[in-house]
Amino acid sequence: MEHCIKKYSGLVWTIAKRYVRDHSSAEDVVQETFVELWKSAKRYDPAIATESTFIGMLARRRAIDYARKESRRPQLDPLPDAELLTQLTTEPPSVAYSAGEDVREVIKQLPEDTQQIFFFHFEQGMTHPEIADKTGLPLGTIKTRLRRGLIEARNKLQHLGAAEPSTSYMS
């Protein structure tokens, strides 16, 4: 457990700070993420995701939930808590998550403007309005390109993994 904290605290902290700017709230997100990790650890299956992807997913959920609550946007419900992890059916989604090189390779295959938006969003942690300011693109375009880019990246990763259709978890 201590090894895990040492190894992944940087990743979890980076993700927490990306979505929750307040320092103390980001610390809460880190703490909640690791508690969730202790709870979910037994459900982790390396066939589905690498450790860092799994932990990154938990951190993203916590951070996004926290950001939603902080922004007091009542129309947005929290993401289902650990729902996806417990609702998997017998087949894992067949996406090649194992190698970071695959992820980078796939990003390189995206259209250049999408790559740039990915860089701003995922690496720099910029918000949509910040990206819009930086690029001069309308906010709606940023949203659309991020969403479509994510879908495209998923499809390319599936292709790399000679993927079957990914598994549904909602009955």
Binding site: E2, H3, I5, S9, G10, L11, W13, Y19, E27, V30, Q31, F34, V35, W38, K39, A41, K42, R43, Y44, D45, P46, A49, E51, S52, T53, F54, G56, M57, R60, R68, K69, R72, P74, Q75, L76, P78, D81, T86, Q87, P93, V95, Y97, G100, V103, F119, F122, E123, K143, L146, R147, R148, L150, A153, R154, S166, T167, S168, Y169, M170, S171
Partner: protein, 274 residues
């Protein structure tokens, strides 16, 4: 029958949900479409986002504060259930559980987790001792148990439970209820009667847990709804943080999705240890 265009639209909404950028209108569309059996969602988009984020973020090194590190150490030491049953793979430091994928198929999370723990406990005690280990909590819950079954199981099989009665405040004085909580399992259920039905798009009930050993502030215990036609509802407690010594459970009415800090403007009910 839903058409391809709608499926594509739903996929984009799902991507937005994962990226955390759905607006209210889009969220409504997502909720509505997600009820259609044709609009299935899978892990792949979320894992892709997490993989990209992990890959692009992992070079950034950060030192956690001493106080946070201390808190995490404390959490680890308290979280005995997870520690006792974790199975570390020495080769890659991966925690594995081969049975979970077969065991967990329900969309009802807390019950699924309870069922999973039940299987783990039974399997663990059988493999270690050749028979059930009575020292460990074994919530003998069937797969996909209802909340009532999950509650009854921990009532029957778990020691050292916290059990308190709820009392409604002035506007809710007809309500009655009980809460049962296990520190060991980090699991608990509320049985609530005569609470008014809420409209989740306008207000939601939120549980708060007062645990003086961890914080002076109450800890969020999750939001929940009382649907139409249920005079008595059994609600699973959804605690993101470890609770070790709950002294009170407080239900408030809050905005949809709950709040980070309750102003306690609408306190519904309180269950307090004497």
């Amino acid at each position: 029958m839903i058409n391809q265009e709608l499926l594509k639209h739903f996929e984009e909404l799902e991507a937005g949900r994962i990226l955390g950028d759905l607006d209210a209108d889009e969220l409504q569309q997502w909720e509505s479409l997600s009820k259609d059996p044709s609009c299935t969602v899978d892990l792949s988009l979320e894992l892709t986002a997490a993989a990209i984020e992990a890959e692009l973020s992992h070079d950034q090194e950060t030192e956690l504060s001493d106080s946070l590190m201390r808190q995490l150490q404390e959490d680890i030491s308290k979280f005995t259930v997870a520690d006792d049953h974790a199975e570390l793979n020495d080769a890659d430091n991966i925690v594995k559980l081969s049975a979970w994928k077969r065991a967990v198929t329900t969309p009802q999370i807390p019950w699924a987790i309870a069922a999973l723990f039940a299987i783990l406990f039974v399997a663990n005690s059988l493999t270690q001792d050749g028979g059930p280990n009575t020292d460990q909590p074994i919530p003998a819950i069937a797969l996909n148990p209802s909340p009532e079954e999950a509650r009854d199981a921990i009532l029957s099989n778990t020691k050292n439970l916290v059990q308190l009665d709820f009392g409604g405040t002035d506007s809710y004085n007809k309500m009655t209820g009980k809460v049962v909580w296990s520190d060991e399992l980090q699991e608990g259920y509320m049985t609530l009667s005569n609470l008014p039905v809420n409209d989740p798009s306008k207000k939601q009930y939120q549980l708060w847990i007062v645990d003086p050993t961890r914080d002076t502030k109450p800890v969020d215990g999750g939001v929940f709804d009382i649907p139409e036609g249920q005079s008595t509802a059994v609600i699973a407690i959804n605690n993101p943080l470890v609770i070790t010594n709950p002294k009170a459970f407080v239900i408030t009415m809050e905005q949809p999705g709950g709040v980070v800090v309750s102003k306690q403007q609408d306190v519904v009910a309180i269950a307090k240890a004497s």
